[in-house]
């Protein structure tokens, strides 16, 4: 075989490849159009059934029948889409009615698949229609290494208050990127009844290396029964834990919260002082006015800003303090009060959260 033969061979292979690509484009379009035409009416019927069911006009069996008529991926997609739109107490009935779906068992088996997209589909299906028997599979999916899978699985906490699921989610918290952790925390908030005792137990261990992360997410629950724990954590040697405690205490009005936050306002770490100033602003207790005014002269800009924003929540007294500091001798305090007094109410509301 010489060079010419080689090039001819390459050109022929290429030609075949180009033809195959063109055929792929055409077949893909044709297939999509056909599938769309075939599935669209059934999908529409499913939407109607869901709408009636959500409004309380239709029966669960209509929804189940409509879903069973759909291919599994589309059925799962519709289940996931309607999951947050229909009252939670109706889902167990749908889960039971879907027991006869031809793809139900297959999707459950997929929870143990080696392919992440199959596990994702299983997680989405079980998150919407899981029954108590699915708890171990869901707990494993919540701990799944693929982020899309554990994100889908943790949605199960919205309607399945199983301690095993909450524990799996809490175990995952320290290992998650911060934004995914926030999503897990919002799921735990919905399963508050089972999540709070578990979080209380975790927060009681001061030597837990993941304590700061657990405290950060536990704070988002704004749970009064955790207030004593957070008050204790305000004296923890780790400044990150103290900062999280300050953050949490700002949402838990109590005389002990105020006292702890006032103490944290003089903490050695500026991150803690800034959080304490924010927390005192949220609590808006008059006893904090003097401390916050002093914090306007803090060496750290963020603490000054947080203190100034906090003072805007104290009404006339806070405003007076800001105006006085605006004319005071401290340049840092003057700058920050100038900024805050110049903000519109909308901007203040946006800043102050």
């Amino acid at each position: 075989m010489n060079a010419r033969h080689l090039v001819v061979l390459a050109a022929v292979i290429q030609g075949a490849f180009v033809v195959a690509l063109l055929a792929l484009i055409v077949v893909n379009r044709w297939f999509r159009l056909r599938r769309r035409a075939a599935v669209l009416p059934r999908r529409e019927a499913t939407e109607q059934a869901f709408r009636r069911w959500a409004a309380g006009d239709g029966g669960v069996n209509d929804v189940a029948r409509a879903l069973i008529s759909l291919p599994a991926p589309i059925a799962v997609e519709r289940l996931a889409a309607w999951n947050s739109l229909v009252p939670l107490d109706r889902w167990p009935a749908l889960a039971q009615a879907l027991g006869r779906a031809p793809w139900g068992a297959r999707l459950r088996r997929a929870a143990r698949s080696r392919r992440w997209w199959k596990r994702l589909q299983a997680a989405r299906y079980l998150a919407a229609t899981g029954v108590p028997a699915d708890t171990p599979a869901l707990a494993a999916l919540i701990k799944d290494p693929h982020p899309a899978v554990h994100l889908a699985a943790v949605s199960a906490l919205h309607h399945m208050s199983a301690p095993e699921l909450a524990e799996a989610a809490i175990d995952q918290l320290p290992h998650l990127p911060v934004h995914v952790g926030s999503y897990f925390a919002s799921a735990l908030r919905r399963a508050r009844a089972v999540a709070v005792p578990l979080l209380d137990r975790r927060l009681a261990n001061p030597d837990d290396p993941a304590l700061a992360r657990i405290a950060e997410y536990a704070a988002r629950l704004q749970e009064p029964s955790l207030r004593a724990r957070f008050t204790a954590l305000a004296r923890h040697p780790n400044r990150e834990v103290r900062a999280q405690a300050a953050r949490a205490l700002g949402s838990l009005p109590h005389a002990e919260s105020q006292a702890a936050l006032l103490a944290l306002l003089t903490d050695e770490a500026w991150v803690v002082r800034a959080q304490a100033a924010r927390g005192l602003g949220l609590l808006s207790a008059p006893v904090a006015l003097a401390g916050l005014r002093k914090a306007l002269r803090d060496p750290e800009w963020w603490v000054r800003l947080r203190a100034a924003l906090a003072l805007t929540r104290f009404g006339g007294a806070g405003r007076d303090a800001l105006v006085q500091e605006e004319r005071g001798p401290d340049a840092g305090a003057r700058n920050v009060t100038e900024l805050v007094l110049g903000l519109s109410p909308q901007a203040l509301a946006e800043y102050a959260t």
Binding site: A3, R4, V7, V8, A10, A11, Q14, G15, F17, V18, L21, L22, L24, I25, N28, R29, R32, E77, A80, A81, S84, W117, L120, R124, A127, P147, A148, L151, A152, S155, P177, V178, H179, V180, G181, S182, Y183, S186, W301, N335, V336, E338, L339, G342, L343, S344, Q346, A347, A349, E350
Partner: protein, 483 residues
Amino acid sequence: MTTLIHGAEALILVYFLALNSFYGLLLLLSIPEVWEQTRLAEDEDLQKLMLSDALPPLTVMVPAYNEGETIETSVTAMLTLEYRQYEVVVVNDGSKDDTLARLREAFELYEVPRIYPETIITKPVRAVYRSRTRTRLTVIDKENGGKADALNAAINASRYPLVIAVDADTLIEPDALLRLTRPFLLGGNVAAVGGTIRVANDCKVEHGRVLDPRVPRHFLAGVQVVEYLRAFLFGRLGWNRLGGNLIISGAFGLFRREYLLVIGGYQTSSVVEDMDVVIRLHRHLRGKKIPYVMPFIPDPVAWTEVPVTTTVLGQQRERWHRGLIASLWTYRDMLFNPRYGQVGLVAVPFYFFGEMLAPVVELMGYVVAILAVVTGRVDFTFALLFFLFAWGLGLCLSIWGVVLEETSFRKYRRFGDLARLLLFAALENFGYRQCTVWWRLKAFWAAWRKRKTWGEMTRTGFGGPRQSRLYAQSPSGMWQKVE
């Protein structure tokens, strides 16, 4: 002479095979990547997550120079994107027209004291404004210092951990920010994320939104659609798997602010500050052994207008290539340097030999072909077959870009658009490609003379013809600043 021609032929053949083998590898790698990205893009749970409080807040940075005519529409469109917590920082970079006055009037701006620290040194900031009607909006008025300087001023003023640089005339799809943050929700330490730039020429645009995507009928614009599809859907997706995306679109790229601050922001002396900033990010993170990823994701889309005259296109391509040469020359110590991992061993060498030197080798090919004809050494049948082979390879790569578009995001729904895409893919190698070679060759001369001009450009605009100085984006990710 015969030995010389033989030697050149062998060199060109080896280069051709090596480069196309690498393209073949990118093509293969783009398959699992588009599969995964399509599945994640369609995932309803992710969409729920994106609408939740868990979303990271971000700052949209909009540099503007003489954008008075369109600034209100552009900023309004940017203030109505689907995202929970974001701010828009518009930097009026010393405009000579009424950009600032229009912003002031449209958004009821009032001056606030500038108290944030100037972490990156910029040209003097004249004033900082907030809006009475739009709390998300901050406007910075500063002395003219160029796009990089304007972006640095916006980085200083931004309050959020993620920043995204967009052009005032770029049309961002409403859900693009939501999609662009997906890697931050899924991944570990994401340093930056790039989205897709598409061609807006001939598309139906209303109130800063592309309502009906079309493939332009104009040859130059149409060919660029194919180029953009190839560059974004197949090139960059492939690079995701090789861990070394060297380009995050300046017109639409999301960065972690802390990293930009550490490297000193954008380089004001560079004509392609977006490529420069990405290379410096790689250098910094690899050098400090900080684990990171810098993925490209295809579903967030921003639309931009591309040039439709050879003069303007030529200037644009010349400048992009000049910027590529300058960047690769500045950071030449990364070439084959194992300290920089895949970036130093794969990405930089590819851009150096496969992108920067490509027009030189192609010119050499044309010269050798002419010499062979002149000296009577050419086997016409073989030459024709080889030409067919080379054209076929180019066609395969372009059609592959179209296939990825068709099997994943399908922005162009009409059969007429699909037919035009395929036609432009087939015609791209006849004339257009040779022109780009010439424009890129001119860049070597300009780089040698250290030219720093941006070129002239007339844009028809989305709301009627206009001529202004604009910041726009190339498919390879580089900026043009045109007057």
